[in-house]
């Protein structure tokens, strides 16, 4: 199911020369960013708690979600962004889909994190901020891809049309 998103992920990495330019930079940023992780995560869940819809989703499990968020942030800076990385990120996307979190939140959360990372890394070498934003964008691509594939799967299930046919039909739109 994740094939289309996986292809987009690989294409996006190749387009931006991610493995060549950004991946080597990211492990060096881990300590700098993780020093601020608690503050970022607290601000992040504070913002979510102020949103009436998001507040209902996170209610009663903020501590557990904060721990998951910490792991997610650490993994951004692990330096390897191959199949295993993709699979873990795609699973996060599927979890969002199953929890019926509106895709809109992926966009605003990514935007929030982009600003948070920029505040920390603006004082560093420009390559640092560029690399951090590049991996955030890739993560958003994967998670949004999980939403897209879920919609296609459900559309296929409801209409009986296979996904190739759905894609062909859309090409005439």
């Amino acid at each position: 199911m994740a094939q289309a998103t996986k292809e987009s992920f690989e294409k996006a990495k190749a387009f931006n020369k991610f493995d060549e330019i950004y991946a080597p930079v990211l492990p060096g940023l881990k300590d700098i960013v993780m020093k601020h992780q608690d503050a970022i995560t607290d601000a992040f869940y504070g913002a979510l708690s102020n949103d009436p819809i998001a507040a209902k989703i996170v209610a009663g499990r903020v501590d557990q979600l904060k721990a998951t968020h910490k792991v997610w942030m650490e993994e951004l800076f692990n330096g390897t962004y191959g199949d295993a990385y993709f699979d873990r990120r795609y699973k996060i996307g599927e979890t969002h889909v199953k929890a019926k979190i509106a895709p809109y939140f992926v966009e605003v959360i990514t935007s929030f994190l982009r600003r948070a990372f920029a505040e920390i890394l603006i004082k560093e070498d420009p390559a640092a901020l560029q690399a951090a934003l590049a991996i955030l964008d890739l993560d958003a691509l994967i998670i949004v891809g999980a939403y897209h594939e879920d919609r296609m799967r459900r559309m296929s299930e409801v209409t009986g049309m296979n996904q190739k046919l759905l894609e062909t039909l859309m090409s005439f739109g």
Binding site: V158, T159, M161, N162, K164, L165, T168, L169, S171, F172
Partner: protein
């Protein structure tokens, strides 16, 4: 020995010759690809995709409403008609027929072609 494509085309040729009420015809795959095109015009690719969509939806509705196996769809437009016949889920036969066509004859011939295509595809 005739190729599969030649056999399919021969079945379509015979069907088209059976009655002047059949204006165009084709065989399409479940993916919406044209297998054999005698529809005329330049809408073949779109027709194949939409015909496959029509067949898929018809099959889905047939299953949902529990009316047995999907067999065919009959659409009547103000100027002409469209008929779609399932070929054992592996393909579909699509026909365009003239306004006021003798549908009794068209169905008789088309169902015969449907059986022949099922043995060929």
């Amino acid at each position: 020995m005739a190729t599969k494509q030649e056999k399919i085309n021969a079945i379509l040729n015979d069907l088209k010759m059976a009655t002047a009420d059949i204006q165009g015809l084709g065989v399409i795959s479940p993916d919406g690809m044209m297998i054999a095109d005698q529809l005329g015009g330049n809408q073949g690719d779109a027709t194949a995709a939409m015909g496959a969509a029509l067949g898929s939806l018809a099959k889905r509705v047939t299953t949902t409403l529990k009316v047995g196996e999907f067999q065919e769809v009959n659409i009547r437009g103000s100027n002409a008609g469209i008929l779609l016949f399932d070929i054992e889920g592996r393909a579909a036969l699509i026909l365009t027929v003239s306004k006021g066509a003798n549908l009794g004859l068209v169905f008789l011939e088309a169902r015969q072609a449907q059986e022949q295509l099922a043995q060929t595809i």
